[in-house]
Symmetry: C2
Subunit: 190 residues, 2 copies
């Protein structure tokens, strides 16, 4: 059986998400793919390169979703709802990459970690921008701190990975609107 580099990265995401970067050995990863640990070195230069690839995949999915949400016309609150739904879609469709992105980025070497931190800041900026717009157009209260509110929304969203299972009574769209409703009530004027 022959594997592509993409296969190796996906399998790495699976194991990093489950056992952590330090909890996963190259031999574990080989076993997951049905080959020896040493055989992985024909696909990648080293373990750290795999972590970089998985984390950058996760970051890329989030940024693509944010770009799409920001492009939507209409009121800021609509873009905020899209950001929330898009974040949930990315989390639930790419759970391994997202988990690795959220929990294992600290195991990146400094240079790549800095790039990931910058990407995370840029993504957070999308939330902050929409919140500022909502304050500016009067739909959100003017004592809303966009930075703090953005952090709170992202905190709720990122934690979803820790408790939510899609096969329960609450489907993805219902969860998205529960979060959006709760957040909007916290922000809205009047």
């Amino acid at each position: 059986m022959s594997h592509s580099r993409e296969d190796v990265i996906s399998a790495a995401g699976r194991l990093f998400a489950r056992d952590g970067y330090h909890g996963t050995s190259m031999r574990d990863l080989g076993r997951e793919l049905g080959l020896l640990g040493s055989s992985l070195y024909s696909h990648v230069q080293g373990k750290q390169e795999l972590l970089v690839a998985v984390v950058e995949r996760g970051a890329g999915f989030f940024q693509a979703a944010a770009d799409a949400a920001l492009a939507v016309e209409g009121p800021a609150s609509e873009r905020l709802r899209r950001l929330i739904a898009g974040h949930l879609d990315v989390m639930l469709d790419h759970r391994d990459e997202v988990r690795t992105y959220l929990n294992e980025a600290r195991s990146l070497e400094p240079a790549s970690r800095e790039r990931v931190v910058a990407a995370r800041d840029r993504y957070e900026q999308a939330f902050r921008t929409v919140l500022k717009e909502g304050v500016a157009d009067g739909s959100f209260r003017d004592d809303v701190d966009p930075k703090l509110a953005g952090i709170f929304v992202l905190s709720i969203l990122n934690a979803v990975d820790r408790w939510y299972e899609e096969d329960g009574g609450l489907d993805r769209a219902a969860l998205a609107s529960q979060i959006a409703d709760m957040v909007e009530r916290g922000l809205r004027t009047g």
Copy 2:
């Protein structure tokens, strides 16, 4: 220099919080205390025992804070504010234990992990109870789902560890009321 078992557990918390359980070796921990890795085995039976001790410290701090908050008389919203402020106090006063509790519990062996999960459920129950009381006495909207709302509040609180630094412009009490205000606006009737 002689060390107590408590010293060893505190140092373990420091390293587990910073480098993770799998990223910390017994030799690392020995170095932190000025002795050899093998010397630690006169204080503890093994590495896993240290993880259990650190995580249970973290869990214990949280439960003690919740018990105190629940004992406060008056409206449910006041107990909710106490739960929020108490959670922040525990996080910021015991950052290493809390970080280990939040991020490294998955490295516990099954038996102790189950105990920790049970303790976490019990703690979450405190939030749910107060939210239910608020719905019952009419101060919170009756379409508030106490389970979901509790998860959202705890999501915001637990994420604080990931971004907040106490020496910035926002002090601990101000952060607590920002969170409590935002949450209450999301819950309140009218």
